[in-house]
Symmetry: C2
Subunit: 313 residues, 2 copies
């Protein structure tokens, strides 16, 4: 079993308007609501790949109820182990301008998590991690921390998983990433901006290696359409798709996380893990619905990802 | 008792952002949710004026639940007689740019009302109207029609109320107004744009008189900051505030409706009705919270509204 943690789940809402006109009134022609937050996206892709997956984190208020109902409806393969909270799960609103296809995003603040809720979550998480340790398992810790959760939260969660012998992938940013890395996760998957914030360097190769020295066993840096750059104990690789696919990059990073985790628990080597992650990312960019992956593109791309070893350590 | 009808209720959501940047991502600093839709605003003001008021219409889905909870919390004097519907009550989102104070509005489509839901509503409405007929009563029919409700709906509701001897104020626009006026409501309260659409004339005095000939016993046209222009069986008047008050005009029209209705059931004459409506409108524009009225401004303005008779019929 793979456990994904989304402390700051979201109800992703999309409004379609004919044209965005600041300070004007818009009749919304179409409204779509989907469960959101990076860890839930990762869980959905893992389930689609046939993995047993449990999603935990917090869900509260009307948007929290909608997240859980949406998970049951759109991702029936994902086991819902979300914890209730008194605060209200946030909505993230994407306003799509039908004239240009461009999106304007509004993100509500997350719910305030109380100390008692955080303590209850830790207990649940420990039980989940211990129960998932055999025969194969992994944990993904994804996204931002809602208000009230200590900034060192991911370090605590990384240590619990490692104590249970379960490898952890951490995908977050800023101070939460900095503290989490120091607890020695198996993998982190920063994008170029997150890596630069962590290391102070904008040069991907030295920055990726620097991030390893800060505590992560492997650092897989997303280069956007350019693919992935991985610094691992077994070597350094670049993995690139055969061509740049046009589309919506929403969720491409979450699909890469799902690719890395699924290949890890299947016992694949690094080049195979990276190939799968790059192919799933490309298939997500190319999918007609934002955040989902297109199985045909995945099958087509996965055999033709180029993985090249980078020199030195 | 006064009955207000809001067929297309809404959950009014306000997002505050530091600055609206099209095609960028915004962290929403502050989220406020309030029950909305013109008839609910009218009911809230009537309750604040001490009148017994019942609000009906449709409420469904998570936003419908939030509307009912918000009504109980923020307008405890209003009796909730909203009917459930299988569709989802709309959200209306106002994004306030903190840098300029300007608002960008996004209105979701209303719920699809089924023929069975509409039939159940008509039965409930008839019972409410008959029960409110003594000793004094009035009905306000406010706002747009949700999908599925026949465009002639307001004409049906006007006729039922008139058959029960209860006066009706109709505040809507477009074809719903055109059809409703033909059923002879006691009052309509168009703004300049709605009046122009109804009559084809942009000249307020002749257009207001023309609207009377189309069936309404009294036409009270809102002139925005200029006050009201009323053509009635007893004469024609202009009512103007002592000075222009700056602020947010949201809900000013609904406060005018509440002023007209409350003064009607109290047996006041036209000049007194118009004074109250203008003072409540001004006090709403001047209130710190959009859609509420400032009692001090109301007390200050109500004694100094100028009401002048216009010549001729």
């Amino acid at each position: 079993m793979i456990v994904t943690v989304t402390l700051n789940t979201a109800l992703d809402v999309t409004y379609r308007v004919p044209k965005l006109l600041p300070y004007d009134t818009h009749r919304v022609s179409d409204t779509v609501e989907r469960p959101g937050g990076k860890g839930l996206n990762v869980a959905r892709v893992l389930a689609a790949l046939g993995h047993e997956v449990t999603a935990t984190g917090f869900a509260g208020g009307p948007a929290g109820e909608a997240v859980r109902a949406g998970l049951a409806a759109h991702a029936p393969g994902v086991t819902d182990a979300l914890m209730p909270c008194a605060g209200r799960t946030r909505r993230t609103l994407a306003v799509v301008d039908a004239a240009t296809g461009d999106t304007t995003q509004f993100n509500e603040p997350g719910p305030l998590i109380t100390p008692a809720e955080w303590a209850a979550f830790l207990e649940r998480y420990d039980a989940l991690v211990r129960s998932c340790a055999h025969p194969v398992a992994a944990v993904a810790l994804c996204g931002s921390l809602p208000p009230g959760v200590p900034v060192g939260a991911y370090a605590v969660l990384v240590r619990s998983a490692r104590a249970a012998g379960v490898p952890v992938l951490l995908d977050t940013s800023g101070e939460a990433l900095r503290r989490g890395v120091a607890a020695r996760p198996e993998m982190i998957k920063p994008n170029a901006a997150e890596l630069a914030e962590l290391t102070g360097s904008r040069d991907p190769l030295p920055a990726t290696r620097d991030a390893r020295r800060r505590g992560a066993y492997a650092v897989i840096t997303s280069l956007g359409p350019g693919g992935l750059l991985a610094a691992t104990p077994e070597g350094t690789w670049r993995a690139a798709p055969p061509r740049t696919l046009s589309g919506n990059p929403t969720g491409a990073g979450d699909s890469a996380v799902a690719g890395l985790l699924s290949a890890l628990v299947e016992g694949l080597d690094w080049p195979a893990r990276l190939s799968r992650a790059v192919a799933l990312s490309a298939a997500t960019v190319h999918a007609p619905v934002a955040g989902e992956f297109d199985p045909r593109t995945y099958e087509e791309v996965r055999g033709s990802v180029t993985v090249t070893a980078a020199p030195g350590q």
